[in-house]
C-alpha cells in the first residue's frame, strides 16, 4: 500500500505488519509520555532523586546515549576527513543513530531540569567557566549538524526526491557534507569531553575529580576517546540488530570489520590511558584529598559499589572487547564480534554510571554514610521513552529511506515485475521510474 514510499530495489514487510509493530512500540512510547507529563506538571518529586543524588538515572542516560551516539561523529570523521570511503555504506545509519541519540538527550534534559521553561537561560546567562555551558552550546550546535546530516536522507525518500528542488538540495548537501562532518567531529570532541569534564572538575568530589591539563581534566579526554571507541561499536550493534530483525544483510562484512578494527584500536588505547589515569588518581590525586582507592568502594560482599564494578568496567567491558576487536579472528567470528560490541557498549554505559552516580554515592564528609539510589518508575519510563522513539524512527527511516546503500546489492530481488504486480497503478509508475532510471545508466 505504501510501496510508492519504499526505496526502489528493496523489499519491505507488508504495511499492516509494520503498523502492528509500530503500535506496540508506540504503546511503550505513550507510557513514557505519560510519565513525562507527570514530571512536567507535578515536578521532580516524581523521581527518586534527592539532595544527595542531584544527578541520577536521567543524567546517566544522557551521558550514555551521547557516548553511544558517538558513532555518528567518529564514523563521519573517518569517512570524510580520514578518507575511509567504504564507511559510506554505514555512515547513514550512524547518522540516524546519532540523530536519535542526540534528540533523546535533549528530550531527557528538558524533562530533567527543575524549571524547563527556563532552560534557555543556559544560553542567555551562560557561565563560561562551567562545563555544562560548553555542553549545552556544543550539543545544540551538533544537533543542528546532525539535522543537516540527516536531512538529505529524508530528502532521498523516493517521493520527496521527485521534487527537483529537494533532489538538488540533497545533492548539494552531499557535496558539502565533509564540512559538516568536520564541524561535527570538532563539536563532538568538545562536548563529549566536556561531559567528562562535568565530573572531572568537581574538586569537592574526590571520586570524580581528575587533575588538569590547562582547563581540562583528564576525564575530558577519556570521555571523548571512549565515545569515539564505543560509539561505533554501538552503531555496529544497532546495524546487526536491524539486520536480524529485517532478516537480511544490510552492510558488507568488510565495512563492519573496518569500523570494528578502528574501534578496537581506539578502545585498546583508551583502556591503557584509562588504566594509567586510574593508577595516578588512586595513588596521587585521591590520597592528597585523604582517600585511598578502597575508600571509594564498599567492602561488604554483594554491595553494588564493590571493587567488582571497576574490574567490570575496565577489564571485562574494556580490555576484553578491545582484545577481541583488534584481532582479525575476533572481528570475523560472529559470536566474538557480538560479544565485543555488546561488552564495549555496556562498558561505556558503566563508565558513565560510575562517573555520575558513584561520584554522588561516595561519602565525602567523615560523618556521612554511603548514599544509595534506585530510580522511580517515572524515571524508568521516561528513559525508555527515547528508546521507543528511536526504534520508531529507525523503523520509519529504514522502511522509507535508503539508509543502507548496499542493501539492494546484498539482497537482489529476483523478479522485478512480480514485485510490482500488487497495485497496478503504483506498479506502472514504478515500472516507468525503473525504466527512467535504467535509461540514463545506459546512456
Amino acid at each position: 500500500m505504501d510501496s510508492a514510499l519504499i526505496p526502489k530495489g528493496v523489499k519491505r514487510c507488508p504495511l499492516p505488519q509494520f503498523g502492528a509493530a509500530l503500535m506496540i512500540v508506540s504503546a511503550v512510547l505513550l507510557w513514557g509520555v505519560f510519565a513525562m507529563l507527570l514530571v512536567w506538571f507535578k515536578g521532580l518529586n516524581q523521581t527518586n532523586m534527592n539532595n544527595a543524588y542531584g544527578f541520577a538515572l536521567w543524567i546517566w542516560a544522557d551521558l550514555g546515549v551521547i557516548a553511544l551516539g558517538g558513532g555518528a561523529f567518529f564514523t563521519g570523521f573517518l569517512k570524510y576527513i580520514v578518507g575511509k570511503d567504504e564507511l559510506k555504506n554505514i555512515i547513514n545509519f550512524a547518522v540516524l543513530i546519532g540523530f536519535i541519540c542526540y534528540s533523546s538527550a535533549l528530550l531527557i534534559l528538558a524533562i530533567d531540569i527543575g524549571q524547563p521553561l527556563r532552560g534557555w537561560f543556559i544560553f542567555w546567562h551562560a557561565n563560561v567557566h562551567s562545563m555544562l555551558t560548553e555542553v549545552a552550546f556544543c550539543l545544540s550546535c551538533y544537533f543542528g549538524v546532525l539535522c543537516i546530516e540527516y536531512l538529505p536522507l529524508v530528502l532521498e525518500n523516493r517521493q520527496i526526491d521527485k521534487v527537483p528542488f529537494f533532489h538538488n538540495l540533497s545533492h548539494n548537501m552531499h557535496e558539502v557534507m565533509a564540512v559538516f562532518a568536520a564541524t561535527g567531529a570538532f563539536l563532538s570532541f568538545f562536548h563529549q569531553g566536556s561531559l567528562g569534564g562535568v565530573a572531572g572538575v568537581m574538586f569537592g568530589r574526590p571520586f570524580g575529580f581528575r587533575e588538569h591539563i590547562l582547563i581540562w581534566p583528564y576525564s575530558f579526554f577519556l570521555f571523548t576517546w571512549s565515545a569515539a571507541a564505543c560509539g561505533p561499536c554501538f552503531t555496529i550493534f544497532a546495524t546487526k540488530l536491524t539486520e536480524k530483525i529485517a532478516g537480511k544483510k544490510l552492510v558488507k562484512d568488510n565495512v563492519i570489520e573496518l569500523l570494528a578494527k578502528i574501534s578496537g584500536w581506539m578502545l585498546f588505547t583508551y583502556i591503557i590511558a584509562k588504566i594509567i589515569d586510574t593508577i595516578y588518581w588512586a595513588n596521587v590525586t585521591a590520597p592528597a584529598m585523604g582517600f585511598t582507592l578502597m575508600d571509594f568502594y564498599i567492602s561488604s560482599p554483594g554491595s553494588f559499589y564493590g571493587i567488582w564494578i571497576l574490574i567490570l568496567e575496565v577489564g571485562v567491558c574494556g580490555l576484553v572487547p578491545a582484545l577481541i576487536l583488534i584481532t582479525d579472528k575476533g572481528r570475523k567470528t560472529p559470536a566474538l564480534l557480538w560479544t565485543a560490541i555488546i561488552l564495549a557498549s555496556i562498558g561505556v554505559l558503566l563508565n558513565r554510571w560510575v562517573m555520575v552516580l558513584q561520584v554522588l554515592a561516595v561519602p565525602v564528609l567523615t560523618f556521612e554514610t554511603w548514599n544509595m539510589y534506585f530510580p522511580s518508575w517515572q524515571e524508568i519510563a521516561t528513559t525508555i521513552l527515547p528508546i521507543a522513539y528511536g526504534i520508531i524512527l529507525v523503523m520509519i527511516s529504514y522502511r522509507y529511506m535508503p539508509i543502507f546503500p548496499q542493501e539492494a546489492e546484498l539482497n537482489p530481488i529476483e523478479e522485478p515485475e512480480t514485485a510490482v504486480t500488487q497495485d497496478t497503478e503504483a506498479g506502472e509508475e514504478a515500472k516507468q521510474a525503473q525504466e527512467a532510471e535504467l535509461a540514463p545508466a545506459k546512456g
Binding site: Q115, L117, R118, W120, F121, F165, N168, L169
Partner: protein, 741 residues
C-alpha cells in the same frame, strides 16, 4: 509558483530577519522569562513598616524575653530580647517557632461544643455567650446540689495571676481539687520545707559555681531555664568550670561535660550518699556549717558511714570505687561546688529521699545560700489579692478531702498530686468527679499512664478545655473555650525555673487576637460574675487587665514598661537566719515523718524475666513534651535516629541488640507492662547495655498532620510510682522488652 532554491532561501532568511526586527520574539522571550519566574501560587509577602514588639515566652517555664519583628501588623520573626537578664538575645528552638503556634492549623478559632462522641472530633461552633451560659449552668447545677467539691481543675502553672484566678474561683465556688502540672521543683520545694523549714523555691547560682556535679539533670536538654543554662554552659567552657554528669546515657549534657559517669538507672541517690560518705569520712565537709548550723548530723552520719561505703555504692550504682572517691574529693576541693538533680528536663518530680540526698551533698560543703550554691528563694506574694468571703457552700466544699489525696494524712506535705488524680477518679472512693476544667495543660497526653488518665476523663461527665489548640485534652472535652495564644495575651509570668532571685516576666500582646478567642482570665471572671453571690463578689474586676493592674500594684508600671521585674535587692539569707525548722537549724532528717536523705530503690513494675530491659526516657530540646507540642519547624529538625517516617527509634547498646538479634534500622515491637509501640532499632554506643531509651514528646494523636501519628507517647508506656513520703511520681523508667517486628 515555482519555488527555486534561491527564492526559497531568500524567503526564509528574509522572513526570519524580518521577524527578528519586530518586537515579537523578544517580547515573547521576555514574557516567558517572567512567566516562568513568577508562578502565581508562590506567595509574595507584603512589605510594610518594620517595628519590634516586646513580650515574654511562655512555652516553657524558662521565662525568656522576646522581641518580635513586625511588618505592618504581621508578626514575622521571634527573636531573643537583647539585654534580658535570663536570655540576653539568645532563644531556644521552641521559642523561635512560636509564630507557627499563632498562625497554625491546630488553633481553636471559636468556642466549640462537642457533637458526636468524645474523640470523634466533631464540633459545633458556638458563641461566647452560649459557651459561658452552658458552663455557668452546669457549675451552678452542681453547686445547687451541694456537689461543688466534685469539680476538679488542672492548671499548667501554680504561679501567676491567671492560675491564681482559677484557684480563687475554685475556692469561692467550693472545691479543693486544684491540681498543677508536676515537676522536680515540687520535690525541691518539699526538700527545703523539710530541711530548711521554709516555703521557698530552689534557686541555683550556677553562673558562679566552679564545679558542677549533676545527677542526671539535662543541663542543656531543657532543665531549669534552658537558655540561661546554655549561656551558663558556654561560660563554664570559657572559665574552665568542671562539669561532671552522672547518668546512664550519653546525653548532649554528658557529651558536653568534662566527665560522664555512666550509672545504673535510678541509683543516683546511692551515689550521692556515697559521696556524702567520703565527705564525712575524710572530713572534707564545711566545719562551720556543720557544727554551728545543722541539727541531727551525728545520727545521720552514722547511718551514712555504715550503709553507703564505696564498696556498697559501687555494687548498687556500677560506678567504680576510685571514681566515687575521686569525685567526692574534687567536689570538696572546689571553691564553689554545686550538686544538681532532676532527671532530664526535670518534668518528673522524683524521689524526695534522693532530692534530700543531693541537697545534703551541697550542705556538707556549705553550698547553701552562698555564691555558686543552692539558694532558697522565698516565695513572696508579689500580688495583693483582696480578701474574699466564702459562703457556707464554699466552706463545706473546701474541707472535703481531695480526690488526689494531697494534704491528707498519708501525704501531708503535698499541695497537688496530679499523678494520683486518675486513680482517684476511677475509684471514686469518697465522691465522683463531675466536672473538670483544664487550662494551660494537656494532661490527657502528658500524664504518665496516659491510658488510665484517659479512662478517668471518660468517667467525668463534663470537661471544659481552655486550650488554644486542638490537643489531646481538647479532643476529649465537651466544651472548648479557647484562650488567646501567648502572643495575643497580657499576663504576668513569675519565673520559677531555678533562678537565684525572684523574677517576674510580663507577657504582652504583639498582635490583636486573630480569632474569636478570649483570655482565660477574662473567662474566669465572667464565669464567676455570672454565678453571682459570694462567688461573683470575689471577682470585683471588670476584666483580666483591670485585675492584673489592681493586684500588681506598684509593680504594674515596672512590668508594663520594662516587661520584667527583678528583686534587685534580694540576698539569700545568711546561715544564722536561713532556717525555720523546729531547731532553727538545717535538719538532716525529720524522724517524725520518716524523712531522710537516702537511696530508696524504685519497685519497678513487671517481671524481670518477661521484661529483661530497662526503658528510660530522654528529653531533647527538639521535642517539646509538655503542654505545647512541636510546631512544624521544630519537628522538622528531629534527627532520623530519633524519628524515621512515622516510627520513633529506640536507642539500644549494640552488644545488647546483637544478643537479641535486633539489627540497626529494622522495625521492632517495644512492650512494657503498661503498653507497647512499634519502633525502629537504633544502635547507640552511648547507652548502657541492658538499658534502652526513647524520646518524650512524640506519639501525639491530635494536633495537625505535621505532628499527629508520629512515634509513640512515652507516657503511654510508663506509669507513675508514688513516692512513699511525698506522694509525687518518682518513676524514672520501667521494665521493657523488644522483639523483632
Amino acid at each position: 509558483m515555482k519555488i527555486d532554491r534561491r527564492s526559497f532561501l531568500a524567503l526564509t532568511i528574509g522572513g526570519a530577519a524580518g521577524t527578528a526586527l519586530t518586537p515579537l520574539p523578544w517580547k515573547l522571550t521576555d514574557d516567558s522569562s517572567i512567566w516562568s519566574q513568577n508562578w502565581p501560587w508562590t506567595p509574595v509577602p507584603a512589605k510594610g513598616e518594620n517595628s519590634y514588639a516586646y513580650t515574654s515566652c511562655t512555652l516553657c517555664p524558662g521565662g525568656c524575653g522576646l522581641m518580635v519583628r513586625m511588618v505592618g501588623d504581621r508578626a514575622v520573626k521571634i527573636e531573643g530580647l537583647e539585654g534580658h537578664p535570663i536570655n540576653d538575645g539568645g532563644i531556644c528552638i521552641l521559642g523561635l517557632s512560636g509564630l507557627q503556634l499563632l498562625y497554625g492549623a491546630t488553633r481553636v478559632k471559636t468556642p466549640l461544643k462537642r457533637i458526636g462522641k468524645r474523640g470523634e472530633g466533631r464540633w459545633e461552633k458556638i458563641s461566647w455567650d452560649e459557651a459561658l451560659a452552658n458552663v455557668t449552668a452546669k457549675l451552678g447545677q452542681l453547686r445547687d446540689a451541694n456537689q461543688s467539691h466534685t469539680v476538679a481543675c488542672i492548671l499548667g502553672s501554680k504561679h501567676g495571676t491567671t492560675s491564681t484566678l482559677f484557684k480563687r474561683f475554685m475556692t469561692a465556688y467550693g472545691s479543693p481539687n486544684v491540681m498543677t502540672t508536676p515537676s522536680v521543683q515540687d520535690t525541691l520545694e518539699m526538700t527545703l520545707q523539710v530541711m530548711h523549714g521554709v516555703e521557698a523555691e530552689a534557686g541555683f547560682d550556677i553562673e558562679n559555681s566552679d564545679y558542677i556535679l549533676s545527677f542526671g539533670s539535662g543541663l542543656i536538654e531543657g532543665w531549669g531555664s534552658p537558655v540561661r543554662m546554655f549561656r551558663a554552659n558556654s561560660a563554664w567552657r570559657e572559665n574552665g568550670v568542671k562539669v561532671v554528669q552522672v547518668e546512664p546515657r550519653l546525653s548532649s549534657t554528658a557529651a558536653k561535660s568534662d566527665q560522664w559517669i555512666p550509672i545504673n538507672p535510678g541509683t543516683e541517690a546511692a551515689l550521692a550518699m556515697g559521696i556524702a560518705h567520703i565527705l564525712i569520712k575524710e572530713s572534707l565537709f564545711d566545719n562551720d556549717f556543720i557544727e554551728n548550723h545543722t541539727e541531727g548530723f551525728a545520727g545521720w552520719k552514722k547511718m551514712v558511714l555504715d550503709e553507703y561505703t564505696p564498696e556498697k555504692v559501687a555494687a548498687i550504682t556500677g560506678v567504680g570505687k576510685t571514681a566515687i572517691v575521686r569525685v567526692a574529693r574534687e567536689f570538696a576541693g572546689a571553691d564553689k561546688p554545686l550538686a544538681l538533680c532532676g532527671r532530664g528536663c526535670g518534668d518528673t518530680p522524683g524521689s524526695l529521699a534522693e532530692a534530700m540526698a543531693v541537697h545534703t551533698v551541697n550542705a556538707l560543703v556549705g553550698s547553701i545560700n552562698r555564691e555558686g550554691g543552692v539558694i532558697a528563694v522565698p516565695m513572696t506574694a508579689y500580688a495583693a489579692w483582696p480578701d474574699m468571703t466564702m459562703d457556707s457552700m464554699a466552706q463545706s466544699g473546701m474541707v472535703k478531702s481531695r480526690v488526689d489525696g494531697a494534704g491528707s494524712d498519708k501525704f501531708p506535705m503535698a499541695a497537688s498530686l496530679l499523678n494520683r488524680f486518675a486513680g482517684g477518679v476511677i475509684a471514686a472512693d469518697a465522691y465522683p468527679v463531675n466536672a473538670l476544667l483544664v487550662s494551660g495543660a494537656n494532661p490527657v497526653y502528658a500524664t504518665p499512664d496516659a491510658q488510665a488518665f484517659k479512662k478517668a476523663v471518660e468517667k467525668i461527665p463534663f470537661v471544659v478545655s481552655f486550650s488554644s489548640y486542638m490537643d489531646e485534652t481538647s479532643m476529649n472535652a465537651d466544651f472548648i473555650l479557647p484562650n488567646h495564644v501567648y502572643l495575643e495575651r497580657l499576663e504576668d509570668v513569675p519565673v520559677t525555673a531555678g533562678l537565684q532571685k525572684p523574677m517576674i516576666g510580663m507577657v504582652q500582646p504583639v498582635v490583636y487576637p486573630l480569632h474569636d478567642t478570649r483570655h482565660a482570665g477574662d473567662v474566669v471572671i465572667e464565669l464567676a460574675r455570672s454565678m453571682g453571690g459570694s462567688v461573683g463578689d470575689a471577682f470585683p474586676w471588670d476584666n483580666y487587665e483591670a485585675c492584673l493592674e489592681a493586684v500588681l500594684g506598684e509593680k504594674w508600671d515596672a512590668l508594663s514598661e520594662e516587661g520584667i521585674w527583678q528583686d534587685e535587692n534580694f540576698q539569700p539569707a545568711e546561715w544564722g537566719e536561713a532556717f525555720e525548722t523546729a531547731s532553727g537549724k538545717f535538719e538532716f532528717m525529720n524522724s517524725a515523718m520518716g524523712l531522710m536523705p537516702s537511696y530508696v530503690p524504685l519497685s519497678l513494675e513487671g517481671n524481670a524475666s518477661t521484661f529483661p530491659l530497662l526503658l528510660i526516657p530522654f528529653d531533647s530540646m527538639r521535642l517539646a513534651s509538655r503542654f505545647i507540642s512541636d510546631p512544624p519547624f521544630v519537628i522538622k529538625t528531629v534527627e532520623d535516629t530519633v524519628l524515621k517516617g512515622k516510627e520513633m527509634c529506640v536507642e539500644i547498646n549494640p552488644a545488647t541488640a546483637k544478643s537479641l538479634g535486633l539489627a540497626n534500622g529494622k522495625s521492632a515491637v517495644l512492650s512494657t507492662p503498661k503498653g507497647g509501640a512499634r519502633v525502629k532499632i537504633y544502635h547507640y554506643d552511648g547507652i548502657m547495655p541492658g538499658v534502652i531509651a526513647v524520646p518524650r514528646g512524640l506519639g501525639h494523636t491530635a494536633d495537625d498532620k505535621y505532628m499527629a501519628g508520629k512515634g509513640a507517647n512515652f507516657n503511654a508506656l510508663i506509669g507513675p510510682v508514688e513516692d512513699r513520703a511525698s506522694g509525687l511520681d518518682t518513676a524514672w523508667g520501667i521494665r521493657a522488652k523488644l522483639a523483632k517486628a
